[in-house]
Structure formats: C-alpha cells, structure tokens
C-alpha cells in the first residue's frame, strides 16, 4: 500500500470520527443536526423541577418542540422553548411542567388555547401554570398518614382506655357484663323458654306462628281491614272532592258558604221570616188572624157546612143549577 493511500484512509477515518462526534453532540444537546426554522417562546416558572435542556414540548400530547435551554432570571426560572415553525401557539394557551414518569422525566405541556386569541410571536412569553409535583403530593400523603395515625390512636385509646385500662369502652362493657352476668343469664334463659314455647306452638304467638288456621284468619282479617281502608280512602276522597267543590264556591252549600251576596240574602230572608212569624204570633195579618181568631174558625166551619149542603143539593138539581146552588149556599 502506498503512502498516499494510507494517509487518505487515516484522514477519512479521522474526519469520520469528528463528524460522528459532532452529530452526537448536536443530537444530545437537544438540537437537530440541521436546525429547523422554529421560533422561541419564554416560559417562566417558580421552579423548573426536573426539566432540562432537550426535554420535549407537547401540545395536546403531540411533540411540537423542545426545551432549548433553562436559565435563572431574577426570582424565577425560565425555560426557552424552541417551537416548530408549523405550529402556532395562541396567546391564551398556558404551559405546565408535566411529569412523564416516576423517575423524574418531565416535559412541557401547552394547551390549545382559543381560536379567537392571536398567535404568539417569536420571543414572546407564554402564560404558565404551576402544578403540584410528586414531592408535595408525597408530603401531603405523609401529613394525612400522621393524622390517620393520630385518629387511630385516639380510637384505640377510647376503646382500651388509659394506662390503668379502666376507662376504656371495652373495659366498661366488660365491667357491665361482669356485674350483670346473673341478670343476663336469667334474661337469656327466659328468652330461651319463650322461644321454646313459641316453637312448640304454645301461647298466642306460638299458635300464630304454628297454626295455619289462625294464620289464614289473620290473613282474611287483614284483607278485610285492607278493603275497609280502601273504602274509607274512597270516602275520604269523595268528601275531599265535595269540600274542594264547596271551597271553590260550587253548588248550593258552596254558594252559601263562600258567596257574600247569597249569605246576605239568606240573612235577610231569615230576618223577614222572623218578622212574619212575630206578626203571626201577635195575630196580625190574615195568617195571624187565621191562627188566633176563633170566630174565623167558626165562620169557616159554617161555610164548610153550607158548602156540604149545597153539594148535596147539586146532586139533586143537576149541573144546570149547580152554579146557582153554590151561589146561594155561599151568599
């Protein structure tokens, strides 16, 4: 192999090494070998958590760019986002740092925003929202665990009591049972006796449970009661209907109760009736005289007698003289 060929191969090899190093450097730095025509946005957070250069920027889960670099800016941390030039981000879209895995992988998630909002220009600052990170959640869970532990301790204390073990609920129940052991035993024996009787069909309850005839009668009675209750229900419904109609002023009673004019008319009628009855009682007027004046009764009696005679004569003289007979009889 001549010297030139050897040198060329070594040169080529070295250039290949340099090229590969550069490609690796560019790839791992977060950029691409050939920079795309994207634009930058600034996202400010109080903390960037585990976010680092080269992490993804996603919109609705779709990768639209990368975190170009992270930096401190005064009292906050800033992430410079490199966004694909084909994707426009609305000014009301908000960026959040989202955890992709439990081992500290983060990415920036940007929401879609609204159509009406204008697009963010290159170098603009995007709105951000802080999210709870795993550490704060774990801290809260720790607090919750402590509270739970305290609550369980309290419950345990209430159940088992203090160090002497005499004030706890369990101790009190135990004491109650110990002190009333005899009574509880008796009560249990009585209960056993009663249940034995019931089981054998003795007594009312026993027969009720064991005697099918009594059961049937009870069922029949219950049916009748049910039927009666149904009828009573209907009756009450009808009564209710009537009351409703009366309340609505329908019908005579309704009109009487709720119509002002009718009430006044009735009142006036009663007053008139009373005045008439008073007159009658005093013997005033025709009816009063009729009731109190005996001469009128006698006159009427004589008239009736005369009429009777006239009718007898009428039978004899025939219809032609009937008018004359009546006339004579009366006058």
């Amino acid at each position: 192999m001549n010297n030139f060929q050897q040198t060329a191969r070594v040169g080529l090899f070295f250039i290949l090494g340099l090229a590969l190093t550069w490609v690796t450097f560019e790839t791992l730095r977060g950029g691409k070998v050939f920079k795309d025509q994207g634009y930058n946005l600034i996202a400010g957070f109080t903390t960037l958590k585990e976010l680092k250069d080269g992490d993804e920027v996603r919109m609705a889960g779709v990768k639209i760019g990368e975190v170009e670099r992270t930096r401190l800016a005064g009292r906050r941390a800033e992430a410079v986002l490199r966004i694909d030039h084909r994707v426009r981000i609305k000014s009301d879209a908000a960026a959040t740092i989202v955890m992709a895995g439990l081992i500290g992988t983060n990415y920036i998630s940007i929401d879609l925003g609204t159509d009406a909002a204008p697009d963010l220009p290159d170098g603009a600052e995007i709105k951000t929202q802080a999210t709870a990170d795993l550490n704060s959640v774990m801290s809260q869970i720790g607090d919750l665990g402590k509270k739970l532990e305290t609550a369980i301790g309290d419950l345990s204390g209430a159940l088992s009591g203090g160090k002497d073990g005499k004030t706890g609920i369990i101790a009190k129940v135990d004491l109650l049972i110990t002190e009333n052991r005899e009574n509880i035993g008796k009560a249990t024996a009585n209960l056993q006796e009663i249940t034995a009787k019931v089981n054998k069909g003795e007594g009312t309850l026993g027969r009720l449970i064991n005697d099918p005839k009594l059961h049937d009668e009870l069922v029949t009675t219950l049916d009748e009661i049910k039927k009666g209750a149904g009828e009573a229900k209907n009756f009450i419904a009808n009564a209710q209907k009537i009351v409703d109609q009366v309340k609505a002023g329908q019908g005579a009673i309704g009109a009487l109760v709720f119509d002002q004019k009718a009430g006044e008319d009735v009142k006036a009628s009663i007053a008139n009736l009373r005045a008439v009855s008073d007159k009658i009682a005093r013997g005033e007027g025709t009816l009063g005289k009729l009731l109190s004046d005996e001469s009128l009764f006698r006159d009427a009696q004589s008239i009736m007698k005369k009429a009777d005679r006239a009718l007898d004569g009428l039978d004899d003289t025939g219809p032609i003289t009937a008018v004359g007979v009546v006339y004579q009889g009366l006058f």
Binding site: T7, L28, G54
Partner: protein, 250 residues
Amino acid sequence: MRQLNNILEGFGSTVLLLFRSIGYLPTLPRQFGRFIEQCYLIGYTTLPIVAILSFFIGSVLALQAGYSMQNFGAKQFIGSLVGLSMARELGPVMVAILLTGRVGSAITAELASMKVYQEVDALQTMNIPPVRMLVMPRLVAAVVMVPVLAIIANLVGWFGGAIISKYTHFIAIDPPAYFSALRRFMEFKDILNGLIKAEVFGVGVILVCCNIGLNTRGGPREIGASVTRAVVTSLILILVLDYFVTKALM
C-alpha cells in the same frame, strides 16, 4: 518485595517514557509519515473488530436489559441503559481492550524484537533516541485515533441495541422510542466522559506496551514473555484506571 520493586520500577519508567515522549513532540512534523502509519494501524485497521464487538455488546446489553426489565415494566428505558452504558463505560473499555489485544501486543512484539536484535541499540549508537522514533508517533497516533474508535463504538453499540430491541419479541421497542429514551437521559457530557476515559486508556496501553517492549532483556524467548506481560499489565491498568477516572469525572 522484589515484585513490588518491579511494579514500582515499571510504573516509574512508564511515567518517564510519557514525559520523554511529550518532550519529543516538536519533532512530530518530521515524522509525519511514521505518525500516519501508526494512525492507520491503531485506528483504521482496528475499526472492523471494534465495530463488530460494539454491535454485539450493544445487542447483548439490550437483550439482557429487556429480559430483566420486562418483569417490572421498565422496557422503555432500555435505550437509556444501553446508551449510557456504552458511552460511559463499555465503549471506552472495549476499545482499550481491543487496542491492547490488537495493537498493544504488536507494538510490544515489535519493540521487544528490535531490542532483542539490538536494533534499539543501533539507533542509540546513531544518536537517534528510540523514544522519539518508536514511542512518540505511536502515542500521538493513539491520542488522535482512540477517541474516534470510541465514538464509533458508541454509535454502533447504540444501533445494535436498537435493532435487537425492535426484533426481539419480548422487547419490541421501535427505534424512535429507543432513541428518544436514549436522548432523554443522556447528555453530551456522558459522551465526553467516555471519550476522556478512552483517551486515558489508549495512552496508558500504548505507554505500557512500549515500555515493556523497550525493556525486554534476553533472547527471542523473552519477546513472547514481554507480549504476555504487556497484555496482562495493560488489562489490569485499564480496569484500575477505569475506576479512578470514573471517580474523577463524576
């Protein structure tokens, strides 16, 4: 005690060799032909074996990681594991070991035979420092070529892992997902870390092999013994240096 003395003697002479070589650096342009020849031997001719070995190391890493991780659902991190392992550890170490086996042994054999057959003495007689002519071009060639071998080893290993991840049924991770995971947990400093390690190993291996070769005493039988000693010493040196360099770069 004698063993310890030998170790210290070897260590001291290697360090001295390094400084002497650095001292002869200005003569490099006059030895450009020799430098290119060593670059060709160290870099170009070592590339195929480095590529083959790195490909299979990356593949086996992905396979083992996938087999272990499938039980707890962490398969998507295979890319990160293979990437970081290759870049920070296996790439540089494998390049150094291959350099020892393929180049270091050849250097020791060549220099030992030159020493045994008194060619080195002849150079000295002609007032040509053997270090300037035999060691310095090799050292510079290693400095230039080893990082190139290491970066190629890294990339080939990554691709090996990606191919195995895609075509192994119990892993089945597509290359985009594999490389995305790789990028997510890797930074360029990891690569740089590996390249620095490879550089340190390369210089160490060349120095040890040259030193043992130039210090060969006796007849032709000693050539084989020197080669064996050079390879064993280089392998030990690589792993010992690996620990310290890793610690220093963390």
